[in-house]
Symmetry: C2
Subunit: 418 residues, 2 copies
């Protein structure tokens, strides 16, 4: 075993030992530890900014793009809001201990299904240092230990944030290994995490499609895939056109870089001639480029022809693929073929079309007459989220604290045998 793999395995061992203690300490002590973490971050703001400056300097040397550098940058205000977010997590309802099923069997056995922490949660993420704190806070609130592996770009910031959080845990008399950050940011350390069988109860990749695919395909531990979104808005023949224009504009342009932004507009042929010019006029305010199928190009002659690749692309940018469809059926076919199962929307006034779309589209979130941009833990009222699952096992859609737990059957007997 390589030195990196040996190191990561040792991290796994420590996490498992810490989880056994931390998982039993009770909600009051967990909350106290989180408040101590929030305080430590505020008190450590100078140190944090110094560490972050090292990352920013390295980013300059490596010619990092401004938009990425902005995501990496911490300011006193951003540190304050990271600490504030931790306090908000403290205020969320605690899922641990909830009994979601209870029964007494004819033989007198009393069976209860109780929500318990998963144990050890691994998270592999990219640039933004706030994820280090957000992810740790959600894991701790739900009674888990965590192993964090961020990107090299933010390593100085991340190491310092982890040190401050671990110090706060220790001051509360809790195992500091409840939070561990992998200091080795090589590809090998990520691979070693994917191999941590017996130590990691789940591994969650947060980042671009490439990272997520690599983890899903190579991990030998349970994985939750998150956040790849090739989302569609389908404008039905009976749609309210003004509503449809607002929805596609919002779904595409309000924040095009995120996973719940729309990438393709499907429009029923009966209203395409009327609707597409209106949509184009609105989308032009953000200079959004339209890539249309032949029927769309016929209506919007100045647009770019779409290729097969466009239907499958998550642009994350001010670009929108447009296809004119013959029918609701063709829209459903298109979505079944190209959707990544994240968020899909129909705009319609037709009851049957709405019902068919809700029932037949296979995605985490399916909308009638609303923007796809609402797929988000905060918007759903969960308070916080660790990611948006696009898989079907364990968690689907925005994952809050409950999705960081599992269940255990507790069975009370008085001597029963079979």
């Amino acid at each position: 075993m390589s030195q990196t793999a040996e190191y990561v395995k040792e991290v796994g061992r420590r996490a498992k030992a810490a989880a056994r203690v931390f998982g039993q300490c009770g909600a009051a002590r967990r909350d106290k530890a989180l408040l101590a973490i929030a305080d430590a971050l505020e008190e450590g703001v100078e140190e944090i900014l110094q560490a972050n400056a090292q990352d920013l300097e390295a980013a300059d040397q490596n010619g990092m793009r401004d938009s990425l550098k902005d995501r990496l940058r911490l300011t006193p205000q951003r540190v304050a809001s990271i600490a504030e977010a931790v306090r908000q997590v403290v205020a969320l309802p605690d899922p641990v201990g909830e009994i979601d099923m209870g029964t007494v069997r004819p033989n007198g056995l009393r069976i209860q299904r109780v929500r318990v922490p998963l144990g050890v949660v691994g998270i592999i993420f990219e640039a933004r240092p706030n994820v280090t704190v957000d992810a740790a806070a959600l894991c701790l609130k739900s009674g888990n230990a965590c192993i964090l592996r961020g990107g090299n770009e933010a390593i100085h910031s991340n190491l310092l944030l982890a040190r401050l959080m671990r110090g706060a845990l220790a001051r509360c008399g809790l195992p500091e290994d409840t939070i561990q950050l992998i200091s080795d940011t090589s590809r090998e350390s990520a691979n070693a995490m994917m191999d941590l069988r017996g130590y990691l109860d789940v591994l969650i990749p947060r980042g671009g499609a490439g990272l997520i695919r690599a983890v899903a395909e190579n991990a030998h531990v349970p994985v939750i895939e998150t956040g790849v979104g090739n989302c569609h808005v389908y404008v039905d023949a009976t749609a309210d056109l003004e509503m449809a224009v607002n929805i596609i504009d919002n779904a595409k342009n309000q924040r095009p870089s995120v996973c719940n932004a729309a990438e393709t507009l499907l429009v029923h042929k009966d209203i395409a001639g009327q609707f597409l010019p209106l949509a184009q006029a609105k989308l032009q305010e953000h200079s959004t480029q339209l890539r249309c199928d032949p029927a769309g190009c016929a209506i919007l002659p100045q647009s770019t022809p779409a290729t097969e690749e466009d239907w499958a692309t998550e642009y994350g940018d001010y670009i929108l693929a447009v296809r004119v469809v013959e029918s609701l059926d063709q829209a459903l076919e298109h979505i079944a073929r190209y959707s990544t199962g994240h968020s899909e929307a129909i705009v319609t006034r037709d009851y049957d079309a709405a019902q068919r779309f809700l029932n037949e589209v296979d995605a985490a979130a399916v909308y009638v007459n609303a923007s796809t941009r609402f797929t988000d833990g905060g918007e759903f009222g969960f308070g916080a989220e660790i990611g948006i699952s696009t898989q079907k096992l364990h968690a689907r859609g925005p994952m809050g604290l409950r999705e960081l737990t599992t269940v255990k059957y507790m069975i009370y007997g008085d001597g029963q045998v079979r």
Copy 2:
């Protein structure tokens, strides 16, 4: 891509297409199809027995052990009870369509979390042909298509059972590809199933520890690990000795080959001298071999000394490892180290010991004063089970129909944008 992999991929494509239709056909038509399957099995009993005879003949030629041959053998009565089990599945409550969360957000968005079928369920299993029908019935009841890959020993029986079930589906006007059996029983076909990304929503291995480990380690699709059980019974210092004797005897000897049977007895040192001779006397009725640690051997001089390996072994036989522990803490340590997270039991009259055991043992099912043998979908009141999950994601413990579903957020708006 090899011919086998190409074939399995085609099976995956057909399953996905069938699942889209079958998943929408409604509970009444699903139930009708299941009843038609039960009838078809009863009507086809002669054909089934002929096919089974071919498998039994091959088993003879290959010198299969009698106990395995018995599991492979079908009789008119066994076929009747397989058909009856299908009818019992029809009678179970339907989890599909259940709304487990619903809210209206301040912006008026109406959000509902609705239970829906997973889509396509893959099952890799070993000898017993009844699994072919049981697994298919549970998948169909919960609205899923299934891909079944049984062992070579039962291939003639399985092919015929699948043909009869597919015929019943077709007669009901439903896609026969909702049930597919992989006719190629090479290791390569199992590997190809583990690679069916984009087609399989979950893969469930049912069989020995070797099969389960191979699937868990090599699959690139979501997996649910089932049924590896290194289960412990801990007899505390305050235990009712008669109750403890009955529980360890039942947990070990009632059916030693199954995963919820106990493999190790832990006994508190304060009562070991009194308890172990009583336990031995009872266990001797089944000639159960005891493998003891040194303290146990001192009490039971004629027993076999245990090695490190014994603590980690799932015997599946009339063998029991025995260790005398200093304290509850040492028992908890032992279980944390060797448990496979299936079922663990304490026998005690001490309230605090019971609570600590329930809270601190990390397993799917934790018992106070009852046999580990109760971890079973039927015993828990679930009506049927597709396996017992020993992992923490998605499902833990006995998996019934609900565990073969996922959720989908359906969101009703009237033009909301962010």
